[in-house]
């Protein structure tokens, strides 16, 4: 078995800690601003709950008949902390015990797949809330849906919605990038000799990262 460099062990542990931190820090945020809210409103998504001005946003959404947001209606908030915890520990375990290029690749692929799935799930909920509107709502704009952007900015009536990762999300992304870096390091991509070999893997991984970003 090839030697597993100490730097990779450290990077995998750091990656694990980054991922674990997402259990505590907000992962995503949707910022809303309107003429009446110059100070802005924020909806924060944590691993296990929603934060920010949820009640105020719920209050405002009743005009357009959007369902009110309640943490207990999302199964995600129950399982997400465990999944994130699992990935964090997995990364640390890979560095401390598994110590192989292959194990790093498996971790990388599964974690990336999780990222994609999570984003799809997030989009699905946004679609659901944005389209499933009360027909007796006070304000009905024909053809108008209120799905917030998955990432980036979108104007929804008087509200501008801006959706971006928050601290936890950025740290998870950083964790994923670190794992990817370790893999490249192990495949020798960073040395001249191993570069060609790794290109194939990279071609496979790039679309996933782009999607996650």
């Amino acid at each position: 078995m090839k030697s597993f460099p100490k730097s990779s062990v450290i990077l995998l542990i750091v990656a694990g800690l980054c991922i674990l931190s997402a259990v505590y820090f907000p992962i995503w945020r949707i910022e809303l601003d309107a003429p009446q809210y110059p100070e802005g409103l924020a909806l924060l998504i944590y691993a296990n709950r929603m934060g920010g001005e949820v009640e105020i946003i719920n209050g405002l959404n009743h005009y357009i008949g959007m369902k009110t947001l309640h943490a207990e209606e999302f199964i995600e908030f129950t399982v997400l902390p465990y999944i994130i915890g699992f990935f964090g520990l997995w990364s640390i375990a890979t560095g401390l015990f598994l110590k192989s290029k292959k194990s790093v690749l498996v971790l990388l692929i599964v974690f990336a797949a999780f990222g994609v799935l999570a984003m799809y799930d997030f989009w699905r909920w946004e679609y659901e809330y944005g389209h499933n509107l009360d027909p007796t709502a006070a304000i009905i704009v024909p053809g108008m849906a209120y799905q917030p952007p998955l990432i980036g900015f979108k104007q929804l009536l008087n509200f501008g919605a801006f959706s971006i990762p928050d601290t936890g999300g950025w740290l998870m992304l950083l964790g994923g990038l670190l794992i990817g870096f370790v893999y490249l390091q192990l495949s020798g991509f960073l040395n001249r000799s191993g570069r060609t070999k790794s290109i194939n893997t990279l071609i496979f991984l790039v679309p996933l990262w782009v999607f996650l970003l």
Binding site: E53, E55, I56, G59, H62, Y63, A138, I139
Partner: protein, 663 residues
């Protein structure tokens, strides 16, 4: 011949031009070109200072921004305010209770901002009631009147609410001497000299809660106490009160109280008074006064009638008070930032005397007295005098300080502000005011560290300054830039009521003091709160109907109420469920004999309503709260006395075919 006529005409014209140009310049010419820039605060920008201005006979306190002169808020204090439900809602009625019962009006003259180490701390503003003697404390996190205490043994609390360097005490000196509440008051008015007494209250203020208490009262000879200032820094522990009518006249005071060449500034050693109090020298006297406290959790005021006050008699307890002669009928009595100079402004005097605290101490040590006045030693005038400002102007009233060695005195009669040097007592500048200035304000002007950028003059007369509005004209404030050597007028703005004294504080100090945005609904301990729509209900208790109502954008719950009968008293306890800044709801119901409610987010407020006839009564939200504000309405059905209409209530239930409206 023709030439001669021409020369004559030309000479006549020249003379006319010359003579008219000799006329004093009018108001317009005293404004310089860059004044607009100096007072301009662009839309959306904040002002540099909060200005807390007494509302005089409006009984309220107003809040302006400086240098823009924009009005932000009128805080209801001593007078009812139907716009805000103050004095009309069941919760606020106790705040205006006194030993005379509910008093809906008063006259707020002076403002004092709380201090720590002689600097403004941004916690509270105090105001005085000049008619039914009271003292109010306003919380500067909520801009709401938090406490009002009545002052016994007093008639007109004018010499108030001036405070000590750490707001240990706020004083309240009676303007009218009257027979003590604990003595027989049914005496001939002509027995003023023997039966009328002055009382000065020292009201303690709790450092944390701000809770007020009358620590003690000083009983003095019968005179009129006018204004007061605490000693600061080296003179901390002393208080100075101007008194007039030392002639002790009881009628036609404008003549009879203007006879003596000198009245007094009374110097009070309040640390000494504290010692006497500790030694048990105070006499507990039976009196009656109201103490009203607002509770931010129950959103309710409570009025307690108290029956005792401790009085220290300054005629028998020596070393508390000393009289400093001061020409003539002194009004303002102001202490400079170093605490050394005490400026007396005799309304009818031709000079401004400046007294020295050090000389006063020496005079007391050497007993340099000139007899007694009502048992109080009178210091020899020259022994306390630092010097006099000669020919300063006519009718000096009040003095503020810039901390750079200058004093600014207002002159009512000559309608001007005069800047003079405290050390050499020389006048260095004077500017006209429009017209007849009363009080002055420099931000922090009564503290150890004034902020000498602006000076505001509060005028009594405006005449031609604004567009006319019939016989009653606005009063005004005028803003001067005093950052340079010469004072420069930069703005003129109208005020509410009549502005007397005002104070100003840096905007940051107030803005960052933990400003309240909402009341957390979870902390609402109102006995009839409904913390959610599911808790809204209507309950009959005999002939009293209690509506536990909620308000949220954009409906009330319940909004249909039936089963109210003639003879009922209906209490709408409206809880604003919003937890968002700047979303108040209002509540009005047809025929209400009181006012509206204005309910802040998380607050519960009660309106009492006694229906006067059978029928349907609309109710609605009075504060434009949302896009569907106009839909925020409901109905109350009133049936005849003894009617069998059941008590029902709901929101959102439309009449169906089975549910025909009762006939």
């Amino acid at each position: 011949m023709k030439t001669k006529v021409l020369i004559f005409v030309m000479l006549a014209m020249a003379a006319f031009v010359f003579m008219t140009s000799c006329r004093p310049k009018n108001a317009g010419t005293s404004v310089k070109g860059d004044s607009a820039v100096k007072s301009f605060v662009a839309p959306g920008q904040y002002d540099e200072y909060y200005n807390f201005v007494s509302g005089g006979f409006s009984g309220q306190m107003s809040v302006y921004g400086l240098p823009s002169g924009r009005l932000f808020r009128v805080i209801p204090v001593f007078s009812v305010d139907p716009e805000k439900g103050w004095g009309y809602s069941e919760e606020t009625k106790p705040m205006l209770n006194t030993s005379h019962g509910f008093v809906p009006w008063d006259d707020l003259h002076h403002v004092e901002l709380s201090q720590t180490n002689g600097e403004i701390n941004g916690k509270w503003a105090f105001g005085n009631a000049n008619n039914t003697p009271r003292l109010a404390r306003i919380d500067l996190k909520s801009f709401k009147t938090a406490e009002i205490i009545e002052l016994p043994n007093s008639g007109g609390n004018h010499s108030s609410p001036f405070g000590t360097e750490n707001s240990e005490y706020i004083v309240a000196g009676t303007r009218f001497s009257v027979p003590s509440d604990y003595a027989n008051g049914d005496v001939p008015i002509s027995t003023y000299k023997e039966n009328f007494k002055g009382h000065i209250s020292f009201v303690s203020v709790d450092k944390e809660s701000g809770k007020m208490d009358i620590a003690f009262q000083l009983k003095t000879p019968g005179v009129n106490f006018d204004l007061a200032r605490c000693g600061r820094d080296k003179s901390h522990g002393w208080f100075f009160f101007s008194c007039y009518n030392t002639e002790q006249a009881n009628t036609l005071l404008e003549v009879n109280a203007s006879q003596k060449d000198k009245d007094f500034i009374m110097a009070v050693n309040w640390k000494k008074a504290e010692e006497y109090l500790k030694a048990g020298k105070g006499v507990k006297q039976k009196v009656k006064y109201a103490h009203n406290v607002w509770d931010e959790q129950t959103h309710t005021g409570t009025s307690t009638i108290k029956n005792e006050v401790t009085v220290l008699d300054v005629a028998t307890l020596k070393d508390i008070c000393y009289m400093i002669p001061c020409p003539k009928s002194p009004h303002g009595c102001d202490v400079d930032p170093t605490g050394e100079y005490i400026v007396g402004s005799g309304k009818l005097a031709a000079v401004i005397p400046v007294f020295s605290f050090d000389k006063l101490q020496k005079a007391i040590a050497n007993k340099a007295y000139d007899g007694e006045y009502g048992g109080i030693p009178v210091i020899k005038y020259e022994e306390a005098l630092y010097g006099e400002v000669k020919k300063p102007g006519l009718g000096p009233l009040h003095t503020e300080f810039d901390g750079k060695g200058f004093a600014y005195t207002s002159f009512f009669v000559s309608s001007e502000v005069v800047k003079w040097n405290i050390k050499d007592l020389a006048v260095v500048d004077r500017v006209p005011t429009f017209y007849s200035v009363g009080h002055l304000c420099i931000p922090g002007g009564n503290t150890r560290k004034p902020s000498p950028k602006y000076l505001i003059a509060y005028n009594k007369i405006t005449k031609d300054r604004y567009l006319p509005t019939g016989p009653e004209l606005t009063q005004s404030a005028q803003l001067f830039d005093i950052s340079g050597e010469k004072m420069q007028m930069i703005l003129d703005f109208p005020t509410i009521g009549e502005p007397h004294y005002a104070q100003a504080a840096p905007a940051e100090l107030i803005r960052n003091n933990g400003q309240l945005k909402i009341y957390p609904i979870g902390e609402n301990k109102h006995p009839r709160v409904a913390k959610g729509e599911s808790e809204s209900k209507v309950v009959r208790e005999g002939n009293k109907v209690h509506v536990y109502m909620t308000a949220v954008r954009s409906h009330f719950s319940p909004d249909n109420i039936e089963g109210v009968r003639m003879g009922d008293e209906v209490y709408f306890h409206v809880t604003n469920l919003e937890q968002d800044w700047d979303v108040p709801h209002g509540f009005g119901v047809k025929g209400a004999n009181n006012a509206e409610l204005l309910i802040m987010p998380g607050e519960t407020t009660t309106l009492k309503w006694v229906p006067d006839r059978v029928g349907i009564f609309p109710m609605y939200c009075t504060d434009f709260c949302s896009a569907l504000h106009q839909e925020m309405q409901g109905y109350v059905r009133v049936s005849p006395a003894g009617s069998k209409t059941p008590l029902t209530f709901h929101v959102g239930k439309q009449a169906s075919s089975e549910e025909k409206p009762a006939q």
